[in-house]
Amino acid sequence: MQLIDLAWWQLALGAALVLALAGCTLLARLGIGKTLLIAALRTVVQLSLIGLVLEALFSVAALPWIALMAGVMLLMAGREVTARQKRRLTGGWAFGIGTLSMFISAFSVTVLTLVAIIGPEPWYTPQYAIPLLGMMLGNTMTGIAIGLDRLTDAVWRQRALIENRLMLGHRWQAAIGEARRDAMRSGMIPIINGMAAAGIVSLPGMMTGQILAGAPPTLAVKYQILIMFTITVGTGFGTLAAVLTASRRLFDEHERLRLDRIAAPDT
């Protein structure tokens, strides 16, 4: 089975439907028409650009360029993690912790999957490496952002309670324990739910894509299971690492709760 080519005018038909939706939201005075159109435009521009970049990258297939691409993706994901938190750690710690945790978890799991499981030749073949890393980063990013957001928010609201436990001579790990466990759980629940619902409620996007591209469904399913597992592992370890590091940062060397290390939310 060959992939059916899509002409630009066929995409324009899809765009017309988006315009129609924007018109309806305007009529209903939802106030999101502009946001919708800008987002749609961003999709077109960003994906077209990444298409060109990937075409170039696939034709070169040299490790330094692939590493550069991976680095840029990591930094963008780090920025996104920072932007999604309401109360972030000050002094670049929000970006630093998020990016480092993603680097540790997403990168190592991706490399491990490429080298030890899928085994393309060479291992960094961009057709495998870049989409795999993209899916890893996208999910890990969400987990870490939720985890960190929950942690700082909970600590902000439970200040009196955490400090009362400190007053009783509890260690900082015990004082923040409940907030920390909650944050870790919140970061990991979406991906766990995603695994539970896969195939029943939703057909995962990558599997759908492979089937559309003509792969036999059983092979597509195998890839999807592998991806689900690696994404879960990456998200889980990334969230654990980020929440652990951030909760340590909330206390100083005298185990005092330092809320001055959390910035006020943007208004």
């Binding site: 009196a160 309670l161 400090e163 009362n164 436990r165 400190l166 007053m167 009783l168 001579g169 509890h170 260690r171 900082w172 409940e178 206390f251 100083d252 005298h254 185990e255 005092r256 709760l257």
Partner: protein, 204 residues
Amino acid sequence: MPTSAAALTARDLGAGALTDVSLDIPPGRILALSGPSGSGKSRLLRALADLDPHAGTVCLGELAQDRVQGHVWRRAVMMVPADSQWWADTVGAHFPDGAADDLAALGFGPETLGWQVSRLSSGEKQRLALLRTVAHRPRALLLDEPTANLDPDTTARVEAWLTNLIKRHDWPVLWVAHDPQQIARVADAHLRIAGHRLETAPCS
């Protein structure tokens, strides 16, 4: 109970509006601290408990605040805040090993440990917070208005229990109070906040 009695001393303490505060509370003595709202009483207590970054040095006998880990210091010098916080569902879960002494002295029975925290009145919380702190075996106490939510009878009961306990264990105690009569009843010395300083005031 065999605990080594030690004095609580502070030198050149700076916390909030207060500067160059020096304190010396001998074992078994109660130092009352008074001052208008917002004058920095709680900030001073928080500095003594090492909950905020602050200037100056604080020692409990040989134990120096800046040389030990935070939890080690606060396990010895325990602060009881005016508004106590409860994290578990039942009262008993907040006590080490789920056991409390002296429940009867403050008007509670053994069944109190099974009570739901969400049903406690503010006065019950205040008394139980004192019991909870004592159950953690401190060596010095920082009390932030420990009887603020109590009626006169219960206040007298808590005062009698606390003063007796303090003498028995030889704890140095800083007791924030508003009521001059309470200060007269419990305190061995009295300091009043005046601007950026502490001044000695009569106990009665």
